[in-house]
């Protein structure tokens, strides 16, 4: 059986169920790299120039972890998934860059996804990808439809049940349907609600963000993430802030940030990677919005290889203390 490797980094968190379904329907086996470790990060960052952003370094590490474990690596070049909205250059050049910096990687399946070229081109790209596994165009079509269904189910699972991508992927992967998880009966109600905004590959990679979600939950905070909002909510908030998106994954920063600053959260934390092109502008827009509204505290956390755990923890504690104080004062005013 042909083995297709998918690195557990970057767009894995958005599209894994879709990709997995597609390749499995075509009779391939899907291999995923293990969760990020320091060794993976170090091996990845030793290959690329220093200015490359953290998520791409992590990605290269995952590619190296998969070398020798699979026959193909699936690294699509996702140019745009909505008309006239384009992706960051690093996503556009990802397959070429991976090939250049990790010569030992297995052959790369580099499908171009560009919605601007029209549906025909998109279908052809998918068919060309499927042709590696089967001669039968109908089988490719069936696999693509099944993959799209899987993606829709995945999205719905997250927005309906308030799951984050790793939880939802786990739920989908378990063949036995587990009971919808009821939150463990916390004797103490959550102290406050914190919204985390940023790209999934930063929010859910526990190694690079120093287990931020886990820390917040352990301290009895309710954590909200961009996936818990519906697409409509995200889009309408994006339009309010910037009047239409410019980047492909803008909603999860600008849309979610705008929405949570307006309502639903006691504080918003924006996670970004140092040197991230799109985020340098988008986080700034959210930050300006927060300053103008003046209602919800906002903190930017910039991550890079050298981000020390103690630094993250200190800033987090200070932020949470401030939120506690605000809440207490508001309660006093109300009384």
């Amino acid at each position: 059986m042909i083995k297709v490797g998918i690195p557990r980094a970057l767009l894995y968190y958005q599209y894994y169920p879709m990709w997995k379904t597609f390749f499995e329907e075509l009779g391939a086996e899907v291999v995923v790299s293990p969760p990020t470790t320091q060794a993976i990060l170090s091996s990845g960052s030793s290959r690329v120039v220093a200015e490359t952003c953290l998520p791409v370094k992590v990605f290269c590490g995952h590619v190296l972890a998969l070398a020798g474990e699979c026959d193909y690596l699936f690294i699509p070049a996702i140019r745009s998934v909505k008309s006239n909205i384009y992706n960051c250059s690093k996503f556009l050049g990802l397959p070429d860059m991976t090939k250049a910096v990790t010569p030992e990687s297995p052959p790369i399946l580099d499908t171009d996804i560009d919605i601007n070229k029209g549906k025909r081109e998109l279908y052809q790209a998918i068919y060309k990808l499927g042709r590696r596994f089967t001669w039968n165009p109908l089988k490719v079509r069936r696999a693509a439809i099944a993959a799209w269904q899987a993606h829709l189910k995945y999205m719905q699972l997250m927005s309906d049940q308030g799951l984050n991508p790793p939880q939802a992927i786990e739920r989908i992967s378990n063949t036995t349907e587990v009971e919808p998880k009821t939150p463990p009966d916390n004797p103490t109600p959550p102290q406050a609600t914190i919204a985390l905004i940023g790209h999934p590959y930063l929010l859910y990679d526990e190694h690079i963000n120093h287990r931020l979600i886990h820390r917040l939950e352990k301290a009895h905070y309710k954590v909200l993430t961009p996936e818990m909002l519906t697409t409509e909510e995200l889009e309408s908030a994006t339009v309010r802030l910037v009047g239409g998106a410019y980047w492909t994954y803008e909603e999860e920063v600008v849309g979610a940030g705008g929405r949570y600053l307006e309502s639903g959260a006691d504080g918003v934390i924006g996670l970004m990677a140092f040197g991230c092109g799109p985020d340098s502008l988008m986080m700034d827009i959210v930050y300006r919005r927060a300053a103008r509204l003046g209602t919800t505290p906002f903190m930017r956390l910039t991550l890079e290889e050298h981000t020390a755990e103690a630094g993250v923890v200190t800033r987090l504690e200070a932020f949470l203390d401030m939120i506690q104080r605000r809440k207490r004062r508001q309660a006093e005013v109300c009384v």
Binding site: V48, T52, R79, S89, M97, Y246, G275, S280, L281
Partner: protein
């Protein structure tokens, strides 16, 4: 209505000529200097690239001079540049300037017509004939400047008296700026080229040839790259650059709509290593390395710090089969002249060694 726009090299000269002929009130902010940079750095998001920060500084200074309509390039599918105008307008408003930013579409299909239509709007509906003649005159100035600059690049390493080429170039720019008819313009150009010819030493020296490629703005704005071309000239190196504004206008405005693309050759050269456009000038950077590996002694790759397309290009460049030394210089507000000079000198030394070794074999 008073119009202002950010600097990029000598681009203000053709625009000044254009607006003057149409009687549009046009202010030119001070040419890029340390104060502009400080202003830009202070009010820009920290992770932004140097083109954003410098243009931000220019826009603030233009608004300070009373400009209420600011021109900025914008468009979709071209790195962060497409988002500059929007963000810079936010920042200006937060600072209390009520200026409006008008976007110059640099990625749309019908650039020439869009540009002319915008000029018509700015000129309060001047007749088309007047607009086109003013536009032509602006273009003539642009072409004259670039023609001279190409020769200056060749003369710098071989001039008899050091500094002549730069002095003549500065004089020519000033004269071109002041010229107000085609005749004067032609004379200025001819005189300058003659003088440059005379300044060249007759010896049969073969200077090292260094290509210079990378991101559009840092290539064309000497303040952002700390005059890297002049410094290379001082070191006795002939600089070759394919990026000129006049080239850009020639192709983007006139020839691309006819289906001609000067970049096809460069893109084709890059194909084995980079199969697709990644926005900005990343594809061209890789292509130029491949294409000119045989022709040049070395390549200097200029990129703004945190530039997305150039980082991809920088990662891909070392893996090409075509072997030519590449020095990447990242430009930002932290770039210091002594540091850059040391690196340039070391690079030029390396190229000299390589050439000597090549001659021996």
């Amino acid at each position: 209505m008073r119009i202002g726009m950010p600097h990029m090299g000598n681009l203000y000269i053709p625009f000044k000529a254009l607006f003057q002929r149409l009687n549009i009130d046009f202010v030119i902010p001070p040419v890029n200097n340390q104060h502009t940079l400080s202003l830009g750095v202070r009010y820009s998001p920290e992770g932004m690239c140097i083109p954003f920060k410098l243009t931000m500084g220019n826009l603030i200074e233009a608004a300070e001079l009373g400009a209420d309509t600011l021109l900025m390039p914008a468009g979709s599918g071209i790195c962060r540049l497409g988002y500059y105008a929007k963000t810079q307008e936010h920042i200006l408003h937060d600072l209390g300037y009520a200026a409006e930013i008008v976007c110059l579409g640099v990625s749309s299909q019908r650039k020439l017509f869009g540009l002319l239509k915008m000029i018509k709007r700015l000129s309060n509906n001047a007749p088309w004939a007047k607009i086109i003649s003013a536009f032509r005159f602006g273009l003539a100035k642009l072409n004259a400047m670039d023609r001279i600059e190409r020769v200056v690049q060749k003369v710098r390493p071989v001039e008899q008296v050091k500094g002549t080429a730069n002095r003549l170039f500065a004089q020519a720019i000033k004269a071109i700026d002041q010229a107000d008819d085609y005749g004067t313009l032609k004379r200025v150009q001819r005189d300058c080229l003659d003088q440059l010819n005379q300044a060249t030493s007759n010896g049969n020296t073969q200077p090292l040839i260094v290509g210079i490629t990378g991101e559009f703005y840092v290539l064309l704005e000497p303040f952002s790259n700390l005059d890297v071309e002049k410094e290379l000239g001082k070191l006795g190196v002939e600089v070759r650059r394919t990026t000129f504004i006049s080239e850009w206008t020639k192709f983007s405005l006139f020839l691309n709509p006819l289906g001609m693309n000067e970049k096809d050759r460069i893109h084709k050269a890059a194909l084995p290593y980079l199969k697709r456009d990644i926005g900005g000038d990343g594809w061209e950077s890789v292509g130029e390395k491949v294409l000119h590996a045989k022709e040049y002694d070395g390549l200097i790759h200029l990129a703004p710090f945190t530039c997305m397309p150039e980082i991809v290009a920088q990662n891909i460049m070392p893996s090409t089969k075509e072997d030519i030394p590449v020095l990447t210089i990242l430009c930002d507000e932290q770039l210091g002249k002594p540091g850059m000079l040391t690196r340039l000198e070391a690079f030029v030394d390396l190229l000299k060694h390589r050439r000597r070794a090549k001659v021996k074999t």
